[in-house]
Symmetry: C2
Subunit: 364 residues, 2 copies
DNA sequence: GTGAAAGCGCTAACAT
DNA sequence: ATGTTAGCGCTTTCAC
């Protein structure tokens, strides 16, 4: 015997057939009142609706999807939902999806590329209209190949893989992408520091292999070069994006490291950690040391002094990601291949954590 | 003609039938290698797997669900994903769901009860194994009735509605619930203030009609009573849970309001706003004014002075919510009705924002 | 305006 | 170990 319901006892949900019988009509009619996409006599409609109410009928989205209508779902894959960077993007995705009457399937990789791949597959199985992978990626050859394969499979089914906040695949593959001017933001904020007279700037944090780090570092270096400042490897202290890293490394460097008058933290979280280390070491910001971050998440405004950082239109990125992937909701596709790409701007927001370098030695 | 695919061109995804044909076996066999729940000759299995690879076959979760297997989905409804309170719970839900190979459907109500109801329906349509509604609720009669109805419908289908961080429905309904000792936490932290000698404590923020507010306020009042301190309506300044509210109302009260030596912000966000107003008014924390919050989200540690607040096991609440709802994954139900309820403890975490009231007038 | 019937892709008896 | 087949619940021609 087939298991009718997953619960302990064998209740059965009402189906269109039940509704049809009770209302004395055919299932086709029930379907028509359900979808209100076809004329149905008012009297009939009311009888059907009454029957549905009486039976506590709830349409089965799986059956509906199987019968050919879109599942109205978009998948979003982030590394961590409590990280504001991802959370804001997720919010944009959710809101835009909701506008198109879509629900979001979300999952967290916790930074594991293998999980990311597995989740893409899971969402494909669920026939998501789009699968949005968010955040930087590691430049691993076999990983990229796998990703491209998934993109092709998805595309072959009329779905789309969207890269959000990461560079396109080397390999050609049918993906859409939403980027932000990462390199430009890093360039701008470094230049801001340079303009204040800083020449020895510490770049702190960020996983070395992550695209996000590579791009920010590239912008930073370009700004240095443009002002004719030699790059000092000792001043590039990569690591991770954690608060703990920012605090620990900053403390170590303060104790025994190269000279510098400003810190460019790879993101605001790292900046928060660095700020704490600075505070604990009695180094005043910005008088003794300037500090900037990246991302402009809420903590930047909570720190004292308030953190000068680079703003990224995170929520908008999320929105664009779904717009790019789902061509106009119910309407028929207005273009052959919607394999688009958008690139949003970033800009620095000046707050209180930067000042001209102090004349005195910064070493305590 | 039926629309085979939603994309511009009419590609068709490979199905079990295609795989079966290419591998020269029956669809049953394909299904068997797919679910690895039945013996299949190694040679056959390899042939089938090869065929799948060749065809880029990806199983259709809808068809599978329709054929009787669980959709392996849990729904979670929060008011806002970027709010750490919800985000941490969501993380717990996601992680626990992932352990059972389930994906999360998440959506945001932005505080609108109507949207909440609508989302529950949507998730029911998708046959989620459980639907978890997170956060406080408004004590609206008709809303409660509707919620109870949804709970019954869900239950009738073998699914479950889980109330997470909110009190049970007045009306009897088949729901599971995960609560935290909200009243107790409020009692404890108020008592902490009282023990330091504060007698005039301002309770600031929180929507008056929200269950969360009611419970916290109740704990606050109980602590006052127990110490024989008369309650002063002027010292209960409810409002919202926003940072902006905390800042604005605090500023107003500082200018022209009742006397008080300590502030109990309804949550950490409000506390952050209040802290800013205090800072702007030149009132020092904790020397001139003590300040506490509720929730223990990251900002509490970022504020200076670090905020004394009440810790809630948010992530654990999320985990419990799914455990309660999904009885042991694949195994058959080991109990009749899993309509359980758990209540987790809260505790205050003492940091640096509280001191004994100053002898001098606090008014500036 | 409404009904009959053919699938959609998969799983699970039931045979063999 | 593998094949046959009957649904799962819905939408959608095609008739009437």
């Amino acid at each position: 015997m087939r298991r009718q319901s997953s619960a302990a006892d064998g209740q059965r949900r009402a189906t269109v057939t039940d509704v049809a019988r009770l209302a004395g009509v055919s299932t086709a009619t029930v379907s028509r009142v359900l979808n209100r996409n076809y004329p149905v006599a008012t009297a009939t409609r009311e009888r059907v609706e009454e029957a549905m109410r009486e039976l506590g009928y709830v349409v089965n989205a799986h059956a509906r999807a199987l019968a050919g209508v879109s599942g109205r779902t978009v998948g979003i894959i982030v590394s961590e939902v409590i990280d504001p960077f991802y959370a804001y993007i997720a919010r944009g995705v959710e809101r835009e999806a909701a506008l198109g009457d879509r629900l979001c399937l979300v999952c967290c990789t916790q930074g594991d590329p293998q999980r990311e791949l597995a989740f893409i597959e899971l969402m494909h199985e669920r026939r998501a209209d789009a699968v949005i992978v968010v955040g930087g990626s590691f430049a691993d050859r076999s990983y990229t190949t796998e990703l491209a394969r998934r993109a092709r499979e998805l595309d072959a089914g009329g779905s789309k893989l969207v890269l959000c906040g990461r560079p396109p695949l080397d390999e050609p593959a049918p993906t859409a992408s939403v980027e932000y001017d990462n390199e430009g933001g890093a360039f701008a904020i470094t230049d801001h520091l340079l303009a204040q007279g800083h020449e020895r700037i510490l770049y702190l944090g960020g996983p070395p292999a992550l695209s996000t780090t590579r791009e920010r570092l590239a912008g930073h270096r370009r700004a240095l070069e443009l002002r004719g400042i030699a790059r000092d490897p000792e001043l590039e202290q990569l690591g991770s994006f954690s608060r703990a890293f920012g605090r620990r490394r900053m403390a170590e460097l303060l104790k025994e490291g190269p000279e510098f008058t400003a810190v460019f933290a790879a993101n605001d979280i790292v900046a928060a950690g660095a700020a704490q280390a600075l505070e604990e070491a009695g180094v005043r910001v910005p008088q003794d040391m300037s500090l900037v971050g990246y991302d402009d998440i809420p903590v930047a405004q909570e720190l004292r002094p308030r953190l000068t950082t680079v703003h990224i239109p995170l929520e908008e990125m999320g929105r664009q990601a779904v717009r790019l992937a789902v061509s106009g909701g119910d309407e028929d596709d207005w273009r052959e291949q919607t394999t688009g790409a958008v690139r949003l701007g970033t800009h620095i927001v000046v707050r209180d954590s930067v000042a001209a370098p102090s004349k005195h030695a910064r070493r305590v």
